[in-house]
C-alpha cells in the first residue's frame, strides 16, 4: 500500500487552521458552482462560519436561515428545504446540533432519507474551557447508529473542505464532525477525499494506529516517537467512519498484527468500537482504545485536557506498546500450543 497521494507537501512550512474555518467558505464555493446550497443555523452562524456563506454574495443572504436558539426547528426546517430540492446544511455546536435534535435527525432526516447534511462544529473536548456541558463526545456513536447516515470526521482544513463538498454531492444524510481548535494541515490544499475511504498517512509494519480528527496530529507525533525507538507505526486517517474502510484497516492489521484506535470521543460507540467490530469479524487482533473513558469532559486548556483524558501523543505511544505486547503474547501462546 502506498502512502496517500493526497498529502500536503512536507517541505511546506507548518500551518494550522481549524476545520470549522472551512465550512462557510466551502458552502459559498459550492453555491458558486450552481449547487442549490442552503444553510440553517441556530444563533451560532459566526462561530460555525455559516455566516460567511451568507455574506459572500448578496444573493446568498436569503439562503442562510437563522432559526434562533431552536435546534429542533433547525433540523426540521432543513428537512423541509431538502424536500423542496435544496441541499441543506445545518449548524450549531455538535452537542446541540446532534443531541438536542436527535429525534428530528432520526425520525425525519434519516427515516425519510433526506438531503440534509448535519454539520455542527465545536465537537469533542477541544472546546476546552466551556466544560463538560459543551464537550460533545457521543456524537459519532449517535450518528453512526442511524440507518441511512454517513459519518465523516475530517482531520484538518483541507480534508474538511473535501468532506463538505463530498457531503453536498452525495445524496442523503451525512454527518460532518468539525472542531473549533486549530489543527496542523496534513492534506494537500486541493485534496479530494472519498466516501468510504481511509487514508494511510504513514507506512509502518509494527503497529497500526487508526485515528480521526484532532487525534491525527497526536498519532503522527506518537509514530515519530516510536520510530526513534525503532518501531514503525502505520498511521491511518479514518476520515470516513461510516461506511468504514475495512479493507484498508484489515490490510494494515494483517501486516502489523495489532491496532490502536485514537479519537476525541467516548470509547463507547465511536471509531474504536467500529474498528473493533470490523476486526472481530474479519481479522481478530489485539485492539487498544485511546478515547474518553465513559466520563464527561471538564473545563481546562486543550493541552491539559488531552493529557488528563489520555488523548495526547504520549498516551498513544504507551498504548501502542501495550498493543504490541498483547500481540506478542498471543503469538507466543500460538507457538507454544
Amino acid at each position: 500500500m502506498n502512502v496517500s497521494k493526497v498529502l500536503r507537501d512536507p517541505s511546506l512550512p507548518e500551518e494550522k487552521k481549524s476545520t470549522r474555518a472551512a465550512y462557510g467558505a466551502t458552502l459559498a464555493k459550492l453555491a458558486d458552482e450552481g449547487l442549490p446550497i442552503v444553510a440553517v443555523d441556530a444563533d451560532l452562524s459566526a462561530s460555525t462560519t455559516t455566516a460567511k456563506f451568507a455574506a459572500s454574495k448578496p444573493e446568498y443572504a436569503d439562503r442562510l436561515f437563522n432559526v434562533g436558539i431552536a435546534e429542533q426547528n433547525m433540523i426540521d426546517v432543513a428537512a423541509g428545504l431538502a424536500v423542496g430540492g435544496k441541499i441543506a446544511f445545518t449548524g450549531s455546536f455538535a452537542v446541540f446540533g446532534t443531541g438536542r435534535a436527535y429525534d428530528q435527525i432520526r425520525n425525519t432526516v434519516c427515516y425519510s432519507k433526506l438531503n440534509v447534511k448535519i454539520a455542527p462544529t465545536h465537537a469533542g473536548i477541544s472546546v476546552g474551557p466551556d466544560g463538560g456541558s459543551h464537550q460533545m463526545i457521543e456524537d459519532i456513536a449517535l450518528m453512526s447508529a442511524l440507518p441511512n447516515m454517513r459519518v465523516l470526521v475530517p482531520a484538518d482544513y483541507a480534508s474538511c473542505k473535501s468532506a463538505i463538498e463530498l457531503a453536498a454531492k452525495t445524496p442523503g444524510p451525512v454527518y460532518i464532525r468539525m472542531g473549533r481548535a486549530d489543527v496542523p494541515c496534513v492534506y494537500a490544499d486541493d485534496a479530494k477525499l472519498e466516501m468510504g475511504k481511509a487514508y494511510v498517512l504513514r507506512e509502518g509494519s509494527d503497529v497500526t494506529i487508526v485515528a480521526c480528527g484532532i487525534e491525527i496530529k497526536e498519532a503522527l507525533e506518537a509514530a515519530e516517537a516510536l520510530a526513534s525507538e525503532g518501531i514503525e507505526a502505520e498511521v491511518i486517517d479514518a476520515f470516513c467512519i461510516k461506511p468504514l474502510d475495512v479493507d484498508t484497516i484489515v490490510a494494515s492489521v494483517r501486516k502489523t498484527g495489532c491496532v490502536v484506535c485514537a479519537e476525541e470521543h467516548s470509547v463507547i460507540g465511536g471509531l474504536g468500537s467500529n474498528v473493533a467490530c470490523a476486526l472481530a469479524q474479519l481479522h481478530p487482533a489485539p485492539v487498544e482504545f485511546v478515547g474518553v473513558k465513559d466520563t464527561f469532559g471538564k473545563s481546562g486548556a486543550l493541552s491539559e485536557l488531552m493529557e488528563y483524558f489520555g488523548l495526547d501523543s504520549k498516551a498513544i505511544y504507551n498504548v501502542a506498546l501495550t498493543a504490541m505486547e498483547k500481540r506478542d503474547l498471543v503469538e507466543l501462546d500460538n507457538r507454544r500450543f
Binding site: 434562533g68 426547528n73 426546517v77 432543513a78 428537512a79 423541509g80 424536500v83 430540492g85
Partner: protein, 277 residues
C-alpha cells in the same frame, strides 16, 4: 385538483370514515379517534377545490404540499389519498401489515402523495416551514398545508416553528389545528393545557381563523381564503372537532385514540356510518 359538489363532499367524508374503520379493524391496531376527527378537514382540502395536485404526477411542481404533522392519523391520509387516486382503494386493507406500503405512520419513500414521513409529534410544522421557505426561494406560488393535533401543540418545537414562520413571513403556510380536545391520557386541558391555541399563534404573529372542522363548506372557505392571502403572515385555522366523529361510542372518548374496534364494534360503527349516508 379535485372538485366535488357540496352535498357529495359530506358523503365522501363519510366514505373516508368507513375506510378508516375498515382498515383499522382489519389491521387490529391504529388510531381511529384522531383520524375520524380530521376526515372532514381532509375532504375539504383534497376534494373541496382547495389543494392543487395531480395523482398521476405526485411531484407536479405547482402542487400544493400537505404535511400530516399528526402522523398517527395515517388512516385518514391513506383513505384520502386513495380517493384522490394516489393509491388503489383496495390497498387500504393492507394498513400496518408486513410488506405493506401503508406503514403505521406515513412513509414518504413508500406512498405517492406523502411528502414527508411523520409520526414523531411536533415536527411537522417545522418541516412545512422549510418546504415553504424552499418554495419562496424558487419563486413558486404553491402553498404548504400542515395538519396538527391540539395535543401535539404541547410539543415545544411547534412554537419554535411558529416563531420562525412569522419571522420569515411565510404566508404560504397554512397550519390547521384538529382541535378535538383529547389526547391519550384524557382532555388536553386536564393533562397539561396549552390554553388558547389561537391566541398563542396570534401572539407569535400569525393570522388566525376559527372554524367548525366538521362543516366542510366552512373549512373550504377558510382554507381557500388562507391559501390566497399573501399579506406576510402565516395562517392558522383552529378547527373545532369531535374526536371519533361519526361513531357514537368513539365520540369524545380518549380511550379510542389508539385502539382498534373488535368485530362487533366494527359492525356497529359501519352500520352507523352507513345509515348516516
Amino acid at each position: 385538483m379535485s372538485n366535488v359538489a357540496g352535498a357529495d363532499l359530506n358523503e365522501l367524508a363519510n366514505q373516508i370514515r368507513i375506510d378508516i374503520i375498515k382498515s383499522i379493524s382489519e389491521a387490529k391496531s391504529g388510531h381511529p379517534g384522531g383520524s375520524l376527527s380530521s376526515a372532514d378537514i381532509m375532504t375539504a382540502l383534497y376534494f373541496g377545490g382547495v389543494m392543487e395536485y395531480d395523482s398521476k404526477n405526485p411531484s407536479l411542481e405547482t402542487r400544493d404540499r400537505f404535511v400530516l404533522a399528526k402522523g398517527h392519523a395515517a388512516p385518514v391520509l391513506y383513505a384520502t389519498l386513495a380517493h384522490a387516486g394516489f393509491i388503489p382503494i383496495e390497498e387500504l386493507a393492507s394498513l400496518r401489515k408486513f410488506g405493506s406500503r401503508l406503514q403505521g405512520h406515513p412513509d414518504c419513500n413508500l406512498v405517492p402523495g406523502v411528502e414527508i414521513s411523520t409520526g414523531s409529534l411536533g415536527q411537522g410544522l417545522s418541516i412545512a416551514c422549510g418546504m415553504a421557505a424552499a418554495l419562496k426561494l424558487d419563486g413558486n406560488a404553491s402553498c404548504v398545508f400542515a395538519l396538527l393535533g391540539d395535543g401535539e401543540c404541547e410539543e415545544g418545537q411547534v412554537w419554535e416553528a411558529a416563531m420562525f414562520a412569522a419571522h420569515n413571513k411565510l404566508d404560504n403556510v397554512v397550519a390547521i389545528i384538529d382541535n378535538n380536545g383529547l389526547q391519550i391520557d384524557g382532555c388536553i386541558t386536564d393533562v397539561c393545557s396549552p390554553e388558547d391555541l389561537g391566541e398563542k399563534f396570534k401572539a407569535f404573529g400569525w393570522d388566525v381563523a376559527h372554524a367548525n372542522g366538521h362543516d366542510i363548506d366552512d373549512m373550504v372557505k377558510k382554507l381557500s381564503v388562507a391559501k390566497r392571502d399573501r399579506s406576510g403572515k402565516p395562517h392558522c385555522i383552529v378547527a373545532k372537532t369531535v374526536k371519533g366523529k361519526g361513531v357514537s361510542f368513539m365520540e369524545n372518548q380518549a380511550g379510542w385514540h389508539g385502539k382498534a374496534p373488535n368485530a362487533e364494534q366494527t359492525a356497529q360503527a359501519l352500520a352507523e356510518l352507513t345509515n348516516h349516508k
